[in-house]
Symmetry: C2
Amino acid sequence: MADGNQEMKLYSHPMSSCSRRVRLALNLKGLSSIPSFCIRFHSKFLTYITESHFLVTEIRSRICYEPVLKTNLSMYVISGLKYDCINILSIGDPEILKVNPMGFVPALVDGTTVVADSYAIFLYLEEKYPQHALLPQDIMKKSINYQVASIVSSSIQPLQNTSLVHSIGEIVSPDEKLPWAQYHIRKGFIALEKLLANHAGKYATGDEIYLADLYLAFQLDNAINRFNLDMTEFPLLLKLHKMYHQTPSFQQIFTESLEQNIDKSLFNFTKPQEA
Amino acid sequence: MADGNQEMKLYSHPMSSCSRRVRLALNLKGLSSIPSFCIRFHSKFLTYITESHFLVTEIRSRICYEPVLKTNLSMYVISGLKYDCINILSIGDPEILKVNPMGFVPALVDGTTVVADSYAIFLYLEEKYPQHALLPQDIMKKSINYQVASIVSSSIQPLQNTSLVHSIGEIVSPDEKLPWAQYHIRKGFIALEKLLANHAGKYATGDEIYLADLYLAFQLDNAINRFNLDMTEFPLLLKLHKMYHQTPSFQQIFTESLEQNIDKSLFNFTKPQEA
């Protein structure tokens, strides 16, 4: 429950960087999650957590029941306000289309308000739940945060998201997938490295965690772990990447996606993939 | 001058939908422009307006001087606050790289603050120059505006911008340029048509002009005039397109780009292009 009268739900995906940045924002704002159910993933398996805390996994019609470890579950239920986290595992799933006509995660349902897209969700959350501000007070520093969000969300992410990269593999060649993604990520990173040169502290725009960090953390993780980008020319971004991996609130989100029972090979472009 | 102490400049491009939406926002907020100079366009010609109001065009080393028509100039200098509009006509031009490390227009310089990317500029302007609000007061309606901005700026525009579409022509085939752009625009329009079904009035989210309209107007113009998209399945979007073309503040921006002395064939994908 987000407040006394409203139910809050986040439609998410464990490997989606857009979802992960929203989950981190909700955690920072003290809104922690109760995982609800995960449905459909390329029609291959179905995973959800029952009310009695059993992790149910159906793989090609074989159903496995597995108790959720207390340590695993406690990760989701910390303190403060709660929201249901519903993992939607395929683009265009009817469940997600009900709340986001684009068919993408993340989408947030807060009582009667439905907001899809991470940028829109951040701006909504910042007004509705001002605790732990995601934007600094200073208008110049704020604009740097907006610019980082825009570079990641408009100039990098749309050109390296899983479905687009797979479509490049189909219309050009499977060998073009990795160079295509690396080219667009690198172009954005060159700009980010320059943009942040005079603003970074411990984090992207100073010593506090702001919107820019939420965008950078998971984009950096994608670049390094999914697309094997050479980071030699980005010392500042690499320093930030290391800092995020040492910061507990970020670590929690990185760990969550690693622990999810999904086929991660579909999201990794550094190794040859099955047809 | 944006105020007594600060000079305001907008780095723009007459055919860039991102620049056009910012120019409209500035006009709505009473910040009108004085065109300054246009530089470089595929090294073919150079156009700028001198202080004495002569339009100077250099085409392949031939320099033409032409007095700016009073009616043409008056279009730029209306009333209220002023800003210099600097037309940058190639991505990665050194002039634009000074203010935006991505090398794209638009970029706004407001005194000592530099903000690049139209979304970032809108959020900056909305706080700094609250006159003629670009966002409604109601948080739910506001979130619809954010979502429209995100769908256009992350799910449509990056996949149909001129340089990306030309790169698809190179790596796949020139015949793939138009279908590629149409596919991605159509996907976004399906979502926008559904999203706005319960919110539109005279404009996208009611009877006032808001952020969503600024994003839609020039995206619709691109879809129809540059990419020849069949709009039959988008009656609401088509109705909005017609409304924008009947609204003076929008008409002014549509007309400006038509009057600019640049090679528009590079931006039109409906006809065969020169190699």
